[in-house]
């Protein structure tokens, strides 16, 4: 493909980066990224990837836009309340950048449709709000060998890591199995500072673009290294970031030497059963 005059102008601030250039921008335009969840994390991810010119953006979300979403889910606006989130996101993306083809999946990401949806996407972004989905995304991506970005937020805290299946530690290497129902609250129960979603989501978007631009076996390209084998943890109250380093866990139940998880499953966990401390 050749860049059009308009594209050369639109993406000029990318193209002038030696780490991107015209060739890198073409890679971005030819890339396919799947965003699971068009909410707090998925919104900033989708906005930045759309602006960057990612050629195909798949968006998975079963929900409709609710008034309580608008405090942080910045891809949706007041007139979108009641609309399917995937439709609202698609309309915003189309306005930002006509180069982007949007494929919508108004469904839950489940064991039965996971591998079919992952299809031929190059990279996956986890922007979901519950553990059954996060563990399913990890397992499906490991089995399908799809690189992905994990993100999680709660109150003033956030965490993110990038997973290259077979090469770097996966989510289960760190968090072996789902926490029992009710032990860990979700945003809808515990709240979240809206901007924290933006901080985490834009980190996930940056990781996505770095992956698309390419890396060598050491994870490096043009001095860009991915957030692999480390969990980035941030707290917005103290505004401190720190990272915990680790390696692939040989006992990991899905990517270890002797995996015990060989097929996908839908894990049951009611989101609203938060135990109250007495």
């Amino acid at each position: 493909m050749e860049l059009t005059q308009e594209q050369i102008v639109r993406y000029s601030r990318h193209i002038m980066l030696k780490e991107v250039g015209g060739e890198g921008q073409k890679k971005i335009l030819q890339s396919k990224v799947l965003i699971i969840g068009a909410g707090g994390l998925g919104a900033p991810v989708a906005l930045y990837l759309a602006a960057a010119g990612v050629g195909t953006l798949g968006i998975v979300d079963a929900d409709v836009v609710d008034l309580t979403n608008l405090q942080r889910q910045v891809i949706h606006a007041t007139p979108d309340v009641g609309k399917p989130k995937v439709q609202s996101a698609q309309e915003t993306i189309n306005q930002i950048n006509p180069d982007v083809k949007v494929i919508t999946y108004q469904t839950l990401f489940k064991a039965e449709n996971a591998l079919a949806i992952l299809g031929d996407y190059d990279f996956v972004v986890d922007g979901t709000d519950n553990f059954p989905a996060k563990f399913l995304i990890n397992d499906a991506c490991v089995m399908a060998n799809k690189p992905f970005s994990h993100g999680g937020i709660l109150r003033f805290d956030g965490q993110t890591m990038t997973v290259l299946p077979g090469k770097s530690a996966c989510y289960r290497c760190v968090f072996n199995e789902m926490p029992p129902a009710g032990v860990v609250p979700t945003c809808s129960q515990a709240g979240v500072l809206g901007a924290v979603a933006g901080i985490l989501g834009t980190i996930q978007a940056a990781e996505t673009l770095k992956y698309i631009l390419g890396y060598d076996d050491a994870g490096n390209r043009h001095a860009c290294s991915l957030l692999t084998d480390r969990l980035l943890i941030m707290n917005a109250k103290s505004m401190q970031f720190r990272e915990v380093r680790f390696k692939k866990n040989p006992d990991c139940p899905v990517c270890g030497a002797h995996p015990s998880i060989n097929r996908l499953a839908d894990y049951e966990q009611k989101a609203c059963e938060l135990k109250r401390e007495a």
Partner: protein, 70 residues
């Protein structure tokens, strides 16, 4: 004893505590809430009670964070 907990050096008394006891001291109500890394290796949850900590150990509590969409 001196432990490095979540990147910060802390003086923990008494000297001989297990991971389970440290979680209590640090007010982690339920061990199910965290994944624990000790000196770069992840601990299996059933081993929290039998793993004794020693001075200089580097321990990380990694919290589950499930939010993102709704």
């Amino acid at each position: 004893m001196k432990l490095i907990i979540n990147g910060k050096e802390e003086d923990i008394q008494p000297d001989n505590v297990s991971v389970t006891e440290l979680l209590k001291i640090k007010s982690v109500e339920q061990p199910d809430m965290v994944s624990v890394e000790l000196n770069g290796e992840f601990l299996k949850r059933p081993d929290f009670g039998t793993t004794q900590l020693k001075s200089g150990d580097r321990i990380e509590f990694l919290y589950f964070m499930g939010g993102g969409s709704r």
